[in-house]
Amino acid sequence: MNIVTITNQKGGVGKTTVSVHLACGLAERGFKTLLVDLDGQGQASTHLSGDTAINRRPSGGAELLFDREKLAAGITPLSTPLGVDLLFGHNALSRIDEGERSVSDAMEVRDSVRALPYEFIVIDTPPAMQLRQLAAVLWADTLITVIEPEEKAVAGWTRVRDMVKAASAKGFLVDGFQALVLLNRVDTRIADQRSAVTRMKAAVPGMIDTVLTARQAVVSTAYSSRLPIWQLKKDKVDADYAALWRDLPNAIGLTDRPHPNFASEAV
């Protein structure tokens, strides 16, 4: 079991895209994978399920993870066409942050969440540092913070770092917890971004620098087609770019197992 939590401190940096593609990539490698969408907008849930109104369902989604009794009785996530199981995100999740649950609740359910029958659980979080995001950090083996190469991003990342430090100091983190920073590089032709990348690399050792380019039109195409980028038709997406997304689980060290298409391409 490996719980991978995806966060950021600013919307629109590609957090949801990373969550969905990691989950699909892991599922296609044969891992039993669950995506937990703690973001009330439910975009990841729509991408996986195709249901554009999924976030208006009042219950039956990600809130189940905070419910000790329901967890004990056994919960049934949705199955999706892309082979990833889903605990969907919905508007009512905000109640968790508003005091419906506490840090103690999040700690109490941790063992049950970690005992769910999955090899990977990918958790997409809302961008506010409240209980939902914190809980997802407290449950995680791997925390991935997605940032863009811009000045503000480091300030946002600093806050995630402080949260991790505080949780670590209290002994609240899972043994073997690791934190990664995924730099979703947007455009290196922009001088501003080039210098930001250089400075960030200096400030954040071990940062994974990718060119996932969240703003590419192909990301929207993938979303509206309800497919991962690498499953789009060849005329829609550059093969190298698609492979970058497809091989993300390997690139960030979640698994050594190559994607099934990886071998066939080499032949």
């Binding site: 770092r161 983190l173 934190a179 703003r215």
Partner: protein, 350 residues
């Protein structure tokens, strides 16, 4: 547990990120809980005591992680977002809490003053445009957000901004030759020769350009110059002060079947130097109110189409969704020959 610190090394251990990388508008600072007050204009919500206690319990364990969004008004620090967290923090007996000043809320306070002045004194478009320009730059907020705050649509905002963005028009507005945003939009769409003629006349007679002057010149089709369809100018326009654009204005253009145009949605205001964008077939952008234009650009049948936009419309589109450029095959710019020569030089260099 050590692995956290191992992985991120020094950075996890260090204090704050270097100041150069901080953005003032995003900076989190700690502030005395008692200095902050809830917004008395907010409809009083009821706070469930039990949930508040849960929240306080979390805060006691992990501090308040998400800063409270505040604004400053008349020396007071007022909550924009996070009253519940603020109450819980007090319950948890926190002395100080993290706060972030909301640029938008701060801009709103400024704008409220502007609007109050506007109502009292009838602020001229040019003055309003200047204020908006300043606020936009200072608070890094988009025209669309400002439009919402000011209760004006995108088209009205971009039309206003034409007054300050184009130095030539700014100059004419300062002189009083152009008196409102709508006139500026009409003026900008005219052929440079006609513009010069109108300006000379106006200066000689010491009068402002009138709507009739501008519309009359506009009515004459200019050869080989694709023009946005004035028919599409929304009737929803209530800039005030200027006459509305009449429906019959578009008649001359309607007869030109080859004219590059399409539904241009509510970004309808200002037609300055004109560019057309040739590209993949595009759908109507947003506006549900207008019916589709009857005639189509013949090119569309072959799977491509073209669209003529004002600079303001183009920049709106681009601001909104830079991705669309990827599906565009070419962009034609239309401006006076000097600028074209300069731009073409610059393109050659880069």
């Amino acid at each position: 547990m050590a692995s956290v610190l191992d992985f991120l090394g020094e950075a996890m251990m260090d204090g704050d990120a270097e100041p150069a990388m901080k953005s003032s508008s995003q900076t989190v600072q700690r502030m005395d809980v008692e200095r902050i007050s809830p917004d008395s204009n907010q409809p009083r919500r009821w706070f469930d005591e039990e949930k508040l206690e849960n929240l306080a319990a979390s805060i006691r364990q992990m501090d308040l992680l998400q800063p409270i969004l505040v604004r400053e008004e008349a020396g007071q620090i007022i909550i924009v977002d996070g009253e519940r967290r603020w109450r819980a923090a007090k319950l948890a007996e926190l002395k100080d809490v993290p706060v972030v000043f909301s640029a938008q809320a701060q801009a709103r306070v400024l704008l409220a003053q502007v609007v109050a002045n506007e109502n009292r004194e009838g602020l001229a478009d040019i003055e309003l445009a200047k204020v908006i320009d300043t606020i936009k730059r200072e608070y890094k907020i988009t025209g669309r957000e400002l439009g919402k705050l000011l209760n004006r649509n995108d088209a009205q905002i971009s039309r206003l901004m034409l007054l300050v963005k184009n130095p030539e028009i700014l100059q004419l507005a300062e002189e009083g030759v152009i008196t409102c945003a709508e006139h500026a939009a009409l003026f900008a769409a005219l052929d440079p020769d006609i513009q010069a003629e109108l300006v000379t006349n106006a200066r000689e007679n010491e009068t402002a350009l009138s709507y009739q002057d501008l519309a009359a010149r506009k009515d004459k089709p200019q050869a080989a110059m694709p023009t946005p369809d004035l028919n599409q100018l929304a009737a929803s326009d209530d800039d005030g002060g200027c006459e509305p654009v009449h429906d019959d204005l578009g008649a001359a253009h309607n007869s030109r079947t080859e004219s590059h145009r399409d539904r241009v949605t509510e970004h309808d205001g200002d037609e300055a130097a004109i560019e057309s964008i040739d590209g993949a077939p595009h759908r109507a952008l947003q506006d549900q109110e207008h019916e589709a234009v009857g005639e189509e650009n013949p090119a569309k049948a072959k799977g491509s189409g073209s669209l003529t936009l004002t600079p303001a419309q183009f920049s709106h589109l681009f601001e909104d969704d830079p991705d669309f450029l990827e599906s565009v095959t070419s962009i034609t710019l239309k401006a006076n020959s000097g600028l074209i020569a300069e731009l073409s030089n610059r393109c050659r260099v880069s």
